[in-house]
Amino acid sequence: MPLKTKMSASLLALAFALPVQASEIWVSNEKDDTLSVIDIDTLEVVRMIEVGERPRGITFNSDYTRLYICASDSDAVQVMDPETGEILHDLPSGEDPEQFVLHPDDRHLWIANEDDAVTTVVDVETRKVVTQINVGIEPEGMAVSPDGKTVITTSETTNMAHWIDTGTHEIYANTLVDARPRHAEFVKDGSELWVSSEIGGTITVFDTTDQSEIGKIHFEIQGVHPDLIQPVGFELTPDHKTAFVALGPSNHVAVVNTETLAVEEYILVGRRVWHMAFSPDHSQLFTTNGVSGDVTVIDVASRKPVKTIKVGRFPWGAAMRP
C-alpha cells in the first residue's frame, strides 16, 4: 500500500510538470458510430467516444477547441467539445454529409453532401445554412485554398473538380479528372491543386492560376494489379516537398516527390488504407485502414511502418490534436 501511494504521488507530480495532455490522433469509425482517440506518446487508444451514425470526415477548428464530425447517416454535422467528448450541438448539414473543409475564417464549413449532389455552406456561429451549390453526382473531396478564395468539391460519378468562388458561391470552373475522384488538396502555397482518382488510379495536378492540368501521378506496385492501386487520401510534409498517398486496397502508402511527381517508395500498411494524419512534429504518420479496422503508424524519417493500433470498425477519417 505505501508503495502505491508513493507512485500516485509521483504520477501526480509528473502530471503537473508536463503539459496536461499528450497529443492525439482522432479517428472516425464509420461502422461503429464511434471515435477512437490515440495517444501519440503511448500509441494506444485512450478513449472511445460515441457519436452520430456513420461518422466519416472529422476536423478540428483552428485552436482545437471544437471537433466537427460528419455523421453521414444522421444527416448532421456534430460539434464536439474534445476535452469532454460531449456533443454540444448539431449543425444543419444537408443530406448525407461525407467530407468537409473548414474555411480559414474558422466560421464556414463547406460540406459535400454525397447523396444529394450539392455542396452546403454552413455558418458554425449562427448554425444556419448559408447556401447550397449544385455540383456533380456524389460529391466527396473538399479543399480550400490558403487565401480562402476558392473551395473545391470533387464529384465521384461526374469525375470533376468543381472550382467554387467563396465570395459569390458560384462555380467558376469544372475540370475533368480520372474516374472516381476522392480527395483534393491545395499544394505549394495554393499554386497547385491535387485531386486523387480512386478508380482512375492517378493524382491529377492542376495549375490553380488557369485550372490547366500540369501533371499526373501514376502508381505501380510489383505484384499488385493496377486496378487495385486506388489513391484516396493524401497528406503533405510541411515543406510540401513530399506527399504520402493512401492507395486503398493495394494496402500501401506511396511516398511522392512533389517536384518530379515520381514515387520514391511504397510502404506496406493495413487493408484498404483510406486517410491519414501527421503527428504535430510530423515525425509520424497515422493511416486509417478500413478493412482491417486498424491504424498503421509510419515513421516519416525512415518511411517504415512501426506499429499497428486496433481501432473500431471501418476507420475512415483522421485528425490530429496537439
Binding site: E114, D115, A117, G136, I137, E138, E156, T157, T158, N159, M160, H162, I171, N174, L176, D178, A179, R180, E198, I199, G200, H225, D227, L228, P249
Partner: protein, 397 residues
C-alpha cells in the same frame, strides 16, 4: 425520313454553335445526345411462386438513373442527354419499331432476346448506330454471332458460371450435384455450369433432371429429399433454373445438409440488392429513390450502358457513334461502376469486363474473380469467353 433530317439538322447547328464559341472556352461545346431504349417484352411465364414478381420497368429504370447521372455531368459541359423508351408487347413488330428508333437515334439500348436482337442489329439502317445489348446472356452473341457495332453490358452466361465456380473452388467445395430444369434455357445454363466446372477443375459427380409437376410449395419437404438422396457424395447442390421456378424449393430440403448454389442460395449475378461495398450503397439508394424498389442485375446492365455512353461523350466531347465506339474500345476507357475495379470492354467481342458479385440473400459472399485467379491481360478476363476461345471476328481490323 423527316425525323432523320431533323436529327442531322440539330446536330449540324450544334456543331456550328460550338465552332463560334470555341475561342472563348473549350468547354462550352453544346452537344445533344439522344439515346434510344427498345424493349421487346418477354411473354409471362408461369412459375411456382408468386413471391418475386418481375418489376414492370426492370432495366428501363436502370437506364433512367444513368440518364440522370449523365444529365448532371452534362450540365457542366453543355451536353444534353435525352432518352426515348419504346416497349413492345411480346407479339409486337420489333423490326418496324427498330426502324423508327434507328431513324432518330445513333445510340440504342436493346432489351430483348438474342433472336430479336439479331433481327434489329442486321437491319441496314443499324449499320452506323452504336447498339448495347442490355439483356441477352446468350454466349453466341459474344461468339460467332457478334457484331462490330454491338456492345454487351450484360454478362454472358459463362461469366456468371465462371464466377460461381471460382468462388466454390476458393472454398474447395469442388464436388457438385447438378439439377437441371426442363426448359431450353435451363439446359443452356446447365451447359455453362458444366463448362465452367471443367475450366476450373471442379467435378460434377451427379446430374438429375427436374420433372416434377406437383405443387412444390406443399410437397417440397417430402419430394426433394428423395430426389436428392441418390446423389453421390457432393459438397454443393447446383441448380440450373433459368426462370426462377423450382430452385427456391430445393434449398434446406436436400437429403444431405448441403449448401445450394446457382439459381438460389449462392448466386453469381452482375448486381444484387446486397452489394454494398465500393460506394455501391450510394448507387442502391439513388436507384431506390428513383424506382421505389431494389436494383436488379438487369437494371445494372442498362445503367452501365447509359453510363458508358456518358463517359465516352464526356471524355471525347463528341456524340458521333464512330468516335464513341473507338474510345470505348481504347485503352483509355474506364468506367467507375461501384465494383471496386474499373470496367472496360473486350476488344475482340464487345463484352463489358466486369467483376461478378457472388451473393446470398443477405450478403455479398465474394467478388469474382477472387484473389488468385490471374490472367495475362486482366484478372477479369478469367470470366467468360477469352479471346482465343471466341469465334468473333467482327472486331478485327
Amino acid at each position: 425520313m423527316l425525323r432523320t433530317w431533323c436529327a442531322i439538322g440539330i446536330r449540324a447547328c450544334g456543331f456550328m454553335a460550338c465552332l463560334s464559341v470555341m475561342p472563348a472556352s473549350v468547354r462550352a461545346e453544346e452537344i445533344e445526345i439522344s439515346i434510344g431504349y427498345l424493349r421487346l417484352e418477354t411473354p409471362p411465364r408461369p412459375v411456382l411462386s408468386g413471391l418475386d414478381p418481375i418489376p414492370p420497368a426492370r432495366g428501363i429504370e436502370g437506364a433512367e438513373l444513368a440518364l440522370k447521372d449523365n444529365q448532371t455531368t452534362g450540365g457542366f459541359l453543355g451536353h444534353q442527354y435525352t432518352m426515348d423508351v419504346v416497349s413492345l408487347a411480346p407479339d409486337g413488330d420489333v423490326v418496324a419499331a427498330a426502324q423508327t428508333m434507328l431513324a432518330g437515334h445513333d445510340l440504342v439500348l436493346l432489351d430483348m432476346s438474342a433472336e430479336a436482337l439479331l433481327q434489329v442489329v442486321d437491319l441496314p439502317s443499324a449499320g452506323a448506330t452504336l447498339l448495347f445489348n442490355v439483356s441477352s446472356k446468350a454466349p453466341s452473341l459474344r461468339d460467332g454471332d457478334c457484331r462490330a457495332n454491338l456492345f454487351h453490358t450484360v454478362p454472358e452466361l459463362g461469366m456468371e458460371a465462371d464466377a460461381l465456380m471460382q468462388v466454390l473452388m476458393t472454398k474447395r467445395w469442388t464436388r457438385l450435384a447438378l439439377i437441371e430444369g426442363p426448359s431450353a434455357e435451363d439446359a443452356a445454363l446447365a451447359r455453362s455450369y458444366r463448362d465452367a466446372a471443367q475450366k476450373f477443375g471442379l467435378k460434377i459427380v451427379s446430374e438429375s433432371r427436374w420433372s416434377f409437376d406437383t405443387d412444390l410449395r406443399r410437397a417440397a419437404a417430402r419430394e426433394v429429399p428423395l430426389f436428392t438422396q441418390k446423389f453421390k457424395a457432393h459438397d454443393v447442390v447446383l441448380v440450373a433454373d433459368a426462370h426462377d421456378d423450382f430452385a427456391r424449393y430445393i434449398e434446406h430440403n436436400t437429403w444431405e445438409p448441403r449448401p445450394v448454389a446457382g439459381a438460389v442460395g449462392l448466386v453469381a449475378e452482375a448486381w444484387a440488392p446486397v452489394v454494398e461495398q465500393w460506394g455501391a450503397a450510394q448507387l442502391q439508394s439513388r436507384f431506390e429513390d428513383l424506382a421505389q424498389r431494389d436494383m436488379t442485375a438487369e437494371d445494372y446492365a442498362a445503367w452501365a450502358a447509359v453510363r458508358v455512353i456518358g463517359e465516352a461523350v464526356t471524355r471525347t466531347g463528341s456524340a458521333d457513334p464512330a468516335v464513341l465506339r473507338d474510345y470505348i474500345l481504347s485503352d483509355g476507357f474506364e468506367l467507375a461502376a461501384f465494383q471496386g475495379r474499373p470496367l472496360s470492354f473486350r476488344t475482340w467481342n464487345g463484352q463489358m469486363r466486369q467483376p461478378i458479385p457472388v451473393v446470398n440473400a443477405h450478403a455479398q459472399v465474394a467478388s469474382a474473380p477472387p484473389e488468385g485467379f490471374e490472367h495475362a491481360r486482366n484478372p477479369l478476363d478469367t470470366l467468360g469467353l477469352d479471346q482465343m476461345e471466341s469465334d468473333c471476328h467482327a472486331f478485327e481490323n
